[in-house]
Subunit: 150 residues, 2 copies
DNA sequence: TATTGTTATACTCTATAACTATA
DNA sequence: TATAGTTATAGAGTATAACAATA
C-alpha cells in the first residue's frame, strides 16, 4: 500500500523547492515573478481570457485574481479590453511587452526545470510522471471542492 | 521530449488543489491548518528537532519558522525545551495535545488523499509516482539553491 | 435572480535585517 | 568568526464581504 501522506509530503516539498528556484531565476534574469509567468502563459494559451477563467485555473478567488491582473497591467504586461459578448466582463490579453517577456522567460524555465527534472531517472519515469500528474490534475479540476473562485 | 513547463504547471495546479482540499477538511474537522499538520508530522518523526532543522525541511527562513513555532506553542501543540548539547538552540517537541491532534488528523489526511489519488490510475502508476517524487525531492534537497533557511 | 468583476478591509504568512547569545 | 535563534518592520498575496453592472 502506497503511503499517501508521505507521497503528498514529497509532492509539496518538491514543488516548494522547484518554485523557489524558478522564481529566483526568473526575477534575476527577467524581472518576472513566477506567479506572473504562470498568468502570462495561461493568457497566451487562450483566444479569450476573463478574470473569472484565470481564477478557476489558479484556484484562487476572483477578487485576488483581479488584483493580480492589476499588477500585471501596472507592469505593462497585459491589458483589459471590452468584451463584446458580455459587458459585465473584460477580455484580458497580453501587451507586446507581455508577449516579449513570456517569450524570453520560457527557455529559462525549460532550462531550469531541466536541471531539476532532466537527468538520472529510470527510463520512462519522467514521461510516467507527466502522464500521472496530468490525469490527477484533470480529475482534481473536475471536483468543486478545491475551487475557491466562486 | 517531455514538456517540462507543462509538467511543472500540472504539478503546481495539482498541489494547490490538494492543499486547499486538505487544509479545509483539517480545519473543519480538527481545527488544524495543513501547515501546522506538516510541522507536527515532521517533529513527531524525529528524536530531536531544532527550529533550524524545521526551516530547512520546509524551505522557509529561520525567522519565519520561529514564528510558526510560536503559533504552535500558543495553540498548546508543541513546546521548546533546553538543548543540553548547544545552548544557542532549543529542542522542539510535541505536547500531549500536539500528539493527540496529529494522531486524530492522520487518518483524515489519508482518507482525503485517497479520494484524490486512490483510484482509476493505470496499474503501478501511483507507486511510480511515489518513487519518482521521492527521488526528485531528495535530489532537490541536496541542492543549495532552493534553500532559504540560511 | 444569477453571474462577473471591483474594491475596501483585514489577516496570514513570509522575507529582510538588526540583534543576542553561544560555539 | 560562524552558527542558532528571536524579534521588529515591512511587504506580498490572499480571503471575506459589500457593492455595481449586466445577463
Amino acid at each position: 500500500m502506497t503511503d499517501l501522506t508521505a507521497l503528498f509530503s514529497d509532492l509539496v516539498r518538491l514543488e516548494t523547492r522547484l518554485y523557489n528556484a524558478l522564481d529566483a531565476r526568473l526575477k534575476a534574469e527577467h524581472d518576472l515573478p513566477l506567479g506572473q509567468f504562470e498568468f502570462l502563459r495561461f493568457i497566451a494559451g487562450r483566444a479569450t481570457t476573463r478574470v473569472y477563467d484565470m481564477a478557476h485555473e489558479m484556484a484562487i478567488t476572483v477578487g485576488a485574481t483581479s488584483k493580480a491582473v492589476d499588477r500585471l497591467e501596472a507592469a505593462g504586461r497585459c491589458r483589459r479590453t471590452a468584451n463584446p459578448d458580455d459587458r459585465r466582463s473584460s477580455l484580458v490579453e497580453l501587451t507586446p511587452a507581455g508577449s516579449a517577456v513570456l517569450a524570453a522567460a520560457t527557455p529559462t524555465v525549460e532550462a531550469e526545470l531541466g536541471i531539476w527534472l532532466g537527468a538520472a531517472l529510470p527510463a520512462g519515469a519522467l514521461e510516467g510522471l507527466a502522464a500521472t500528474l496530468s490525469v490527477l490534475r484533470r480529475r482534481a479540476e473536475s471536483d468543486r471542492r478545491t475551487d475557491r473562485a466562486g
